[in-house]
Amino acid sequence: MLILECPYCGVTGEETEFHGGGEAHIKRFGPGSSDADFETYLFMRENPKGVHFERWRHVNGCGKWFHAARCTMTLEVFGTYSAQTFEPPKEIKDAISAKRPGWSWREFS
């Protein structure tokens, strides 16, 4: 039973207040994109063992979407941050590096 902190309303709540939204930082491909790009966008997932970036919504709360950096092996949460960004902020990356030196995820590390 996870606890997460919503970066928008500052509530640290239990999992049942939130709704998981799958992998974060996925680029949308629309009309005109290649079949492969579109498949990747909709279906292909990192699904890593270890550091992962994912989307959550504070559904029983302020209703905002946010991102979390979490380890899928230990469930350790490195931090949560705004969903309105294209990549994890520096302080989040630093927090991960402190715990998981040499980590990498897609183009981030």
């Binding site: 498949e39 292909m44 997932r45 699904n47 890593p48 063992k49 994912e54 979490r70």
Partner: protein, 415 residues
């Protein structure tokens, strides 16, 4: 290998069972095999078994990082059914179900297949229509099912509450030859048979890399050294993403934890398997008397095989409402298993971007019931290098084409 029989047991009794042999050998890995199967779970062992039985390929190693049958094969709620809606699923699961019918004899190992019948409750008008549709589809697929009345449901499951108030039972989809089997025995039976065919089951042997040359697989690196092979089968529920990464490709899958629990054992009170999909509760009674209960999956990627509480709460809530007597039973044990879920909730059996490397994965919550069928289809795929009719629709290319196999359309049925 000595046959198992009541007579053999009696004979051994006379000498305090000192004469029983190992059920399977535990050899050191050879330098090279024709086929390496990664994963000694139900699907992996069944794949190896049918490679030998149907195609005479026995120079096979099955590599297991832990102990055989220790993944989802040993953690599921053992439900077996084939009342699926879509043709490809129905074909695959019915093949599996029919193989379960004779598995104990085929393997000379009692897997306790118990065709006690499976009911899926219809508790909304929408579900009624959905299950009637499935019944019509099954009729044309050669799967024997029947849409039954609330009265018949009550007759089959005396402990059920069909009057609601919240969700009165409006009927049910009944598969009389669905049921359960002893999950560990399925893995052990296949393992014993594979070992007997001369295949090497290598436990405590973790694959750490996939070696390839010229776009084709040539072997794997393991915790017990490098092993070569001509063909590689990845059959590692819960670890598929990891193995795919080693082999250099991604999958349309995510791994999540599926929750399950059992009650304390009580005297027989429910002789069939009941699935209540509207409220998300699945329950059957084991031969030991435990009520075996399936829960939901966590909504996030997770590789810990731990139970989490709120899913159990949701499931138990549903069962207390559907079977009021459950309220005064006790939860004995809860646990989680890691399942790979695909974009359309249906499995993948097919080729991969890497030559001679094949995959069987993405069973979500439905893997156990499919073991013999999945093994059969995967063996055919590996032996011929091309999918046969059973797996033809289950290749990964379907996600590019938008050709999904979506079972949830039949009233949101969970597998």
């Amino acid at each position: 290998m000595r046959r198992y029989s009541a007579f053999a047991v009696a004979r051994e009794a006379a000498r305090f069972h000192s004469g029983w042999e190992r059920a399977w050998r535990s050899p050191a890995p050879k330098k090279k095999y024709d086929v390496i199967i990664v994963g000694a779970g139900g699907h992996g062992l069944a794949t190896a078994f049918y490679l030998g039985k149907n195609f005479g390929i026995t120079n096979v190693a099955i590599l297991e990082k832990g102990w055989l049958g220790g993944g989802n094969t040993g953690r599921n709620t053992t439900i077996i059914r084939s009342n699926y809606l879509q043709d490809p699923s129905a074909a695959l699961y019915e093949k599996a179900r029919s193989l379960y019918e004779t598995m104990s004899q085929d393997l000379n190992y009692n897997v306790m297949f118990s065709p006690r019948g499976v009911i899926m409750l219809a508790q909304t008008e929408h579900e009624v229509r959905g299950y009637k549709r499935t019944a019509h589809a099954n009729m044309l697929q050669g799967v024997t099912t029947e849409f039954i009345s609330p009265a018949r449901v009550k007759e089959l499951v005396p402990i059920i509450n069909i009057d609601g108030p919240r969700y009165p039972v409006l009927g049910g989809l009944w598969q009389a030859r669905g049921g359960t089997a002893r999950h560990d025995a399925v893995a052990w039976g296949y393992a014993r048979a594979c070992s007997d065919m001369g295949m090497d089951i290598i436990q405590q042997c973790e694959v750490t890399g996939v070696r390839s040359s010229g776009g084709k697989v040539v072997g794997v690196d393991t915790s017990k050294g490098a092993i070569d092979c001509d063909k590689l089968g990845l059959v590692v529920a819960g670890n598929s993403g990891d193995l795919a990464n080693m082999a250099g490709f991604r999958l349309p899958m995510e791994s999540v934890a599926l929750q399950a629990l059992v009650s304390e054992p009580i005297k027989p009170c429910m002789d069939v398997v009941v699935m209540a999909n509207t409220v998300h509760g699945y329950m059957s009674q084991s031969d030991k008397g435990e009520m075996v209960i399936g829960g939901g999956t966590d909504g996030f990627n997770n590789y810990t095989q731990r139970g989490s509480f709120h899913h159990v709460e949701e499931t138990v809530r549903a069962l207390v409402e559907t079977f009021p007597m459950v309220s005064r039973l006790k939860m004995l044990r809860q646990w989680g298993g890691i399942v790979d879920v695909t974009g359309d909730r249906s499995p993948v059996i097919g080729k991969t971007p890497l030559g001679n490397c094949f995959i069987n994965a993405g069973w979500g919550t439905g893997g156990f019931k499919a073991i013999p069928g999945g093994g059969w289809a995967t063996a055919e795929l590996i032996a011929k290098g091309e999918p046969g009719p059973l797996s033809a629709e289950f290749g990964m290319e379907r996600f590019i084409e938008g050709r999904f196999i979506d079972e949830s359309v039949a009233a949101g049925v969970a597998h």
